[in-house]
Amino acid sequence: MIWLGGAILFWLAAWAVNASVAGSAAGRSRAGRVFVPLLFGITVLVLWEGVVRGFGVQPVILPAPSAIWARIVASPEVLWADFVQTVVKGALTGFVMGVGAAFAMAIAIDRVPFLQRGLLPIGNFVAALPIVGLAPILVMWFGFDWQSKAAVVLVMVFFPVLVNLVAGLQASERMQRDLMATWGAGYWQALVKLRLPAAMPFFFNGLKIATTLALIGAIVAEFFGSPIVGMGFRISTEVGRLGLDMVWAEIAVAALAGSVFYGAVSVVERWVTFWHPAQRH
């Protein structure tokens, strides 16, 4: 109970600190932007540790953060190898291909109204093919190694990017389009100079969702067959072995990788769509 009470006290105190920092000028600084989420995260961890110890939760159900940290420190090689296999080979490759394919498709759909009316409805169907149904098939087709994971990621990433890009390509204002028309701009010129820039806020929306999906996709696909390396492999195997500390160590790596990935996309977004009101708020 001491653990639990202490953790809750810590939570309240930290929240108060965060609220005051976020409200103050310090919250606007670079340090503040790192400090606040960090303190929040630490609070979550402290609360977690408190609950696990306070209630005596069994480590095979939910290990304490301290145990997870010990596992991370003990097995860097395994974690690194899994990371390379799943994130670098599986997720990134699939992400790049999926975004590329969605881009090409969005433009094809935009260019040819016939496709827009014919392909988009069907695209909706394909998009919602559940990964758990798809993954076994793609593993069957593309083998056990990262190629099949990349294929799963490709399919998962495709739809959110496509939907957002198609919405974005319609997002320019009438007057802006009319201007292009008066200059006799061709399709591609209007696309590159007006409609793509105007679509960027939407496109990045799609990309952000896609980054997280890419990671989930690559990991989940490994549940359906994999070599004996990879984050999904490790997670599914260790759950069976009740090595929950290792499972959470992998989850921590996934979270870290995902956040970095997401952060990178956000930075590019800020840079590309600096003009959008959401970036200037």
Binding site: Q176, G184, W275, R280
Partner: protein
């Protein structure tokens, strides 16, 4: 093509918008011929169809009746031949481009070289008195400055036909006078055909060779006045008898257009 040849010819032009609560008759039976080198002003109460007519000429709106030719072609063909420079009623700058970038845009599209682009941007920025603002983004400029940037953008390339929708509405008298003069100079030097919407009677009279007075509900032309003023127009021509007479006729036309409401 020789000066004086018809450039814009509208015959029995009609345009009806279908809206949620019934059709809006924006243009009704509009007949107008604009010749090469004409400077035509459109004047009329708000909502009388000035913008709509200009949009039809630029093939941005499709008439629901009558015929409209530009240089003997359909407006759309003319558009594809890059016949138009259009200044919209609102500035309509692209927020992701600087002012210079916005002006460069049509130049890029029309394939001007980088050096040529830079040179032209410099020239038109100076013309609209925005020198030094090339690197600012649109939201960093005042309303009038944005409007001038959009004028600069339309002047940067050599369109045959310049369509300007209340370009000087947000400018003070002095700048406005100066830009009026500049516009006349440009027009005299290049022999462009200009369609110009304004709410200022003196401005219309000062600039135009032809003044079209319109009236709303349904939008139609009520008077077309050919100006007897010489091509060479110093600012003080505005005190001449002829000038005042034409202005009076325009004002009467306008008042008549409003008549049905008052």
């Amino acid at each position: 093509m020789a000066a004086g040849a018809p450039v814009i010819e509208a015959k029995g032009l009609n345009l009806t918008f279908q809206t949620g609560d019934g059709p809006v008759h924006a243009l009704k039976d509009v007949n107008l011929t604009v010749n090469r080198g004409d400077f035509v002003s459109f004047i009329g109460p708000s909502g009388c169809g000035k913008t709509t007519f200009l949009r039809c000429v630029a093939a941005l709106e499709h008439p629901t009746g009558g015929t409209l030719t530009v240089n003997g072609m359909t407006p759309d063909e003319a558009r594809r031949k890059r016949a138009y420079g259009y200044v919209f009623q609102a500035a309509g700058l692209y927020p992701w481009r600087t002012i210079a970038g916005n002006i460069a845009l049509p130049l890029e599209i029309m394939g001007f070289s980088k050096a040529e682009q830079a040179e032209r941007i410099e020239r038109v920025l100076e013309l609209v008195e925005l020198k030094g603002f090339g690197k600012k983004f649109p939201w960093q400029l005042s309303g009038g400055m944005q409007q001038r940037a959009s004028i600069a953008r339309a002047l940067a390339f050599d369109a045959d036909i310049l369509l300007m929708d209340e370009p000087f509405g947000a400018l003070d008298e002095i700048v406005r006078d100066r830009l009026n003069e500049e516009l006349l100079k440009l027009w005299a030097a290049t022999g462009k055909t200009i369609g110009f919407v304004t709410h200022s009677i003196p401005e219309a009279v000062y600039l135009s060779t032809k003044i079209v007075v319109m009236s709303p509900r349904p939008g139609r032309i009520t008077d077309v006045i050919d100006s007897p003023l010489p091509k060479e127009r110093p600012l003080d021509i505005r005190d001449s008898r002829e000038f005042i007479e034409i202005a009076h006729r325009v004002r009467e036309g306008l008042r008549a257009g409003h008549g049905d409401e008052v």
